[in-house]
């Protein structure tokens, strides 16, 4: 069936997050507080891929200077509300997205206790006083709505994700292949044993899948070594020799593949540590009817690994990569992996249904697609827990950050982080962004340094931080479009992950240094 017009338009992104991600994106509503250049660039990258709705909240009017930095204002718009113009010019990017303009002061809105934030899936806040960001971050934290705080000054960009928790099943690892060469199951063993290598004509011999070869040689090795696998490096070298000695010709790709895969058997199939941590997460202790599907699935997964028949193993992904083989043998092998995976899904579903019953939920309340995806990806689940802005922005938080920086190298972006923190406090102490266009000047250098000293007492000041101060002062609180656009790209990417529930999100801070072309991220 040729694709619909919509699928053709979104083809290049559907290859990344598929129809499920797209549907989630289209069901989302994103709010932007302050139609800054960074904010509008970010929105552009969400509207193009088709976010469902967006709201721009801003109470200022377009000034001629805005046009030099923000692409989503035009000549004719000078004097008009920024929210309305940005909404219109951004809205033109995608007919399938609905935009709303709210002509209102973001700071006032944050203080309005009656404002309904719940309709937003994500909120973005840019170029605003730190006290307002802190206030908003607490409001949204309590509602579990993610907040993205982003701004730029000169060649520096800062972005912070404030999100309570996100649980991701579809993390898109490099590969989902799980061969289990060390723990073959009966069907795989039977299939392996059905080959009699010695009697095979050379053409067939050259097309025996390497998985079969390795399993056969492991068997041979084990019977000569008290049932043990080749464990040490030396033993694996001997094992390779065993394979090499058996080959009937030099140019056998399947034997080459077997040799190249010997390292795989040195890795015992177990539950990866990150997944073990998820299985032991307190979130599964007191599940109820309302609990998120993810944690219900995790609890079922834990029961799966505890079931005696599964030997403490996770469900098999059933994914196989290509290997030298004739069609029949490859498809047969693939079927064995897939059937094992299906059997695991089947057993998992039984356990899940029991659990759902305990929780007073109907057994069909988690779809079979969801279950299959969960089982296929269960080695690569991700739980990202964020932190509140308050703890980071306290003087305690600042000091622990400072101590981190003591280990950094000269132009490490962490110094930039420290300098930006001080800069932000300085702005809050002296004036608000929105109130007047006062620029920071060299006269402020002393105050910045003093402020820094007062926060980090009794620690010594750092020349690297003072250099960033001079650079910030040099740019006079001004911005560059390129840095805004860079941060808008990062911000949109992170929001896409949160909205599609795919890939692994940033947790939780990034600094971009546009002077040296570097970025660094931390969990703060």
């Amino acid at each position: 069936m040729p694709p619909s017009e919509r699928d053709r338009k979104y083809d290049r992104q559907l290859r990344l997050w598929a129809g499920t991600g797209q549907a989630a994106l289209e069901a989302s509503h994103v709010a932007l507080l302050n139609a800054s250049a960074t904010g509008c660039e970010l929105m552009k990258n969400l509207i193009l891929p088709g976010v469902g709705e967006f709201t721009i909240i801003d109470d200022s009017l377009v000034k001629p200077d805005d046009l030099k930095l923000n692409f989503f204002f035009n000549d004719e718009s000078v004097g008009s509300p920024r929210s309305v113009i940005a909404c219109k010019l951004l809205g033109e990017l995608n007919q399938d997205t609905r935009g709303h303009a709210l002509f209102q002061n973001p700071e006032v809105l944050i203080n309005d206790v009656d404002f309904q934030w719940d309709k937003f899936s994500v909120v973005i806040i840019t170029n605003i006083s730190e006290s307002s960001v802190r206030k908003l971050s607490n409001i949204l934290w309590n509602k579990s709505i993610p907040l993205i705080y982003v701004y730029t000054v000169g060649f520096y960009g800062y972005l912070r994700v404030i999100n309570r928790e996100i649980t991701i099943v579809d993390t898109h690892p490099e590969s989902l292949v799980d061969l289990r060469l060390d723990q073959p199951w009966p069907e795989l063993i039977d299939y392996t044993m059905s080959f009699d290598l010695d009697s095979l004509p050379i053409l067939d011999y050259a097309h025996v899948p390497f998985v079969v070869l390795i399993l056969k040689f492991i068997d041979q090795w084990k019977s000569a070594h008290n049932g043990l696998m080749p464990g040490t490096y030396e033993e694996r070298t001997q094992f390779k020799q065993l394979i090499n000695d058996a080959r009937k010709a030099s140019d056998l790709e399947n034997f080459d593949e077997a040799l190249a895969s010997v390292w795989r058997i040195s890795q015992k199939t177990t539950i990866p540590p990150d997944i073990l941590a998820i299985l032991n997460d307190p979130s599964i202790d007191n599940l109820n009817e309302e609990s998120p599907d993810f944690w219900v699935l995790v609890k079922a997964l834990k029961r799966f690994t505890e079931a005696p028949r599964n030997n403490g193993l996770l469900p098999l992904s059933g994914v196989l990569f290509d290997m030298k083989a004739d069609t029949n043998n490859y498809i047969r092998l693939q079927t064995i992996y897939r059937e094992k995976s299906l059997a695991d899904v089947h057993f998992f579903t039984e356990l899940l249904n029991e659990l759902l019953l305990e929780l007073n939920r109907p057994s069909s309340s988690i779809s079979s697609e969801e279950i299959k995806l969960f089982c296929k990806n269960c080695r690569y689940l991700n739980v990202t827990r964020g932190s509140k802005l308050d703890s980071e922005f306290s003087s305690e938080g600042f000091r622990s950050a400072y101590e981190l920086a003591a280990f950094s190298e000269n132009h490490d972006p962490f110094y930039t982080y420290l300098a930006l923190r001080v800069y932000s406090l300085f702005l809050d102490k002296n004036w608000y962004y929105s109130e007047n266009g006062k620029q920071i000047t060299s006269r402020d250098d002393v105050e910045l340094k003093n402020l820094f000293k007062s926060i980090i007492t009794p620690f010594p000041t750092v020349p690297a931080v003072e250099k960033v101060f001079s650079e910030i002062i040099r740019t006079g609180s001004g911005e560059f479009h390129n840095i805004c656009s860079f941060m808008g790209g990062i911000g949109a990417q992170e929001i896409l992950k949160l909205l599609t529930w795919q890939y692994i999100p940033l947790n939780n801070t990034i600094i971009y240094d546009g002077i040296f072309g570097t970025t660094k991220t931390w969990k703060l």
């Binding site: 040729p2 699928d7 053709r8 338009k9 083809d11 290049r12 992104q13 290859r15 990344l16 800054s36 250049a37 660039e41 552009k44 193009l48 088709g50 200022s60 200077d65 046009l67 030099k68 930095l69 923000n70 692409f71 990017l93 007919q95 000169g154 097309h207 069609t327 490859y330 498809i331 929105s434 007047n436 620029q439 001079s470 650079e471 040099r474 740019t475 006079g476 609180s477 001004g478 911005e479 560059f480 479009h481 390129n482 840095i483 656009s485 860079f486 790209g489 990062i490 949109a492 990417q493 992170e494 896409l496 890939y503 940033l506 546009g514 002077i515 040296f516 072309g517 570097t518 970025t519």
Partner: protein, 418 residues
């Protein structure tokens, strides 16, 4: 309140500016008077044009040979549904010149190879947002060749960006001074290809069935008719034929979307990654032209699928061995099996190796012509060499010179028989 940082930084020396930096209004004048060339008006190109226009560049040229397709609209934000079918360069130039006052953008709807050295020499620098390795190699070689040691202005910095899904890279190439595009070709992986015998005899993957439909069945059913990869009916035919073969062999996974992806070699592309990479490139363009801060030395890799990760490093120039910027008698060494034929050498090594990757090469040694694609008489005369073994044709101490119409330089290599 919006404050543009540019007007401030050009007046003041910063803590990281080069010692030789002289601040003042002339910096902005130089920026406004410099001509910059943008190659590509696609996902990166649209962003690059916007960024340069809002960075203070006033005279921008853009080249692109493509027309707008519906699948561009998810990221190429200067285009609307009504623009489908129109040239990208023209529509993009018009949009940005209209939006940003005082900026002149001159489009050229065509191939970069249609322009000569004289054309390229008018620019201060070139920003490249392409998805084609071939075009990048071409412009890189041209800019390196244009350098005249006596004339520093003949050095045209090349800023190159590329993206693929959530990943990308931005780099600065100062021709003959820093590592060039050709120097880093081996960083690309060997191209994924499927052996013809697998496709014909032992298909295992849905891709094998799709290749069977396009490489073998199409030619059989429509002899002499060229496959149009942009024609949905053609893709539909391939899909149906591939699906039928897949069913015969019990292979699962052939879809229309996969068929199209394999046939057109589609690379996923999103607005956010393009924004990041284009911004990184244009930030370098601004710094190079104004010297307000040091520029990237010389490569930034970006990965956004797992958190955000960048790796910034200095890619080393192959001063001796690079076939484009190398100064010595540099040549590549290729080790090949003793019994390989000239034909297999061409199709399995020269066409696939990332650091050679030619499409229709001609080969000669000092002693003899091995194989020439053109003129027809020479092609005919050398075709019988194709089935001969390399070891019979070339000794290990002989140099092979390879030329290709897509490359404005020749590659030299020596063989090592395994």
């Amino acid at each position: 309140m919006t404050i543009n940082a540019l007007d401030r930084v050009i007046e003041i020396i910063g803590p990281f500016t080069d010692e030789s930096y002289v601040p003042g209004p002339h910096v902005k004048e130089f920026l406004e008077n410099s001509k910059v060339l943008v190659i590509g008006a696609g996902g990166l190109g649209c962003e690059i044009l916007k960024n340069l226009a809002l960075s203070g560049f006033k005279d921008i040229h853009v080249i692109d040979m493509d027309t707008i397709d519906i699948s561009n609209l998810n990221r190429q934000f200067l285009f609307r549904a009504a623009d489908i079918g129109k040239p990208k360069a023209t529509v993009a130039a018009e949009f940005v010149s209209k939006r940003v006052k005082g900026v002149k953008i001159t489009p050229y709807f065509g191939k970069i190879q249609e322009k000569n050295e004289e054309y390229y020499s008018q620019f201060t620098l070139v920003v490249c947002g392409l998805d084609s390795v071939e075009a990048r190699r071409w412009i890189n070689a041209l800019l390196v060749n244009m350098v005249d040691d006596e004339n520093p202005e003949s050095i045209k910095p090349l800023i190159d960006g590329g993206t693929e899904g959530f990943k990308g890279q931005a780099r600065v190439i100062i021709p003959t001074i820093s590592s060039c595009y050709e120097c880093s070709l081996d960083m690309l992986g060997k191209q994924q290809t499927y052996p013809i015998c697998t496709i014909a005899n032992t298909p295992r993957l849905p891709e094998h069935c799709i290749e069977w439909a396009s490489e073998l069945e199409w030619v059989k059913v429509f002899p002499g008719k060229k496959l149009d990869k942009d024609n949905m009916e053609n893709i539909q035919w391939l899909y149906e034929v591939a699906l039928q073969r897949a069913n015969e062999f019990k292979i699962t996974g052939v879809t229309y979307s996969l068929t199209q992806g394999v046939i057109k070699n589609i690379i996923p592309s999103i607005a956010s990654t393009n924004a990041v990479i284009a911004a990184a490139c244009c930030n370098e363009a601004l710094k190079i032209v104004t010297s307000v801060n040091p520029y990237l030395d010389n490569y930034m890799m970006y990965t956004g699928n797992e958190g955000v990760y960048t790796y910034t490093f200095q890619h080393q120039r192959k001063e001796k061995d690079c076939p484009v910027c190398g100064k010595g008698n540099g040549y590549l060494t290729v080790s090949i099996p003793k019994d390989i034929t000239l034909e297999d050498f061409i199709t399995e090594e020269l066409m696939l190796r990332p650091d050679i990757k030619v499409k229709s090469p001609s080969l000669r040694t000092v002693r003899t012509v091995l194989y020439f694609q053109w003129p027809p008489q020479l092609k005919e005369a050398t075709e019988r060499n194709l089935s001969k073994k390399m070891i019979e044709l070339v000794n290990e101490d002989e140099e092979i010179v390879i030329t290709d119409p897509a490359l404005p330089f020749s590659l030299r290599l020596r063989l090592f028989y395994e």
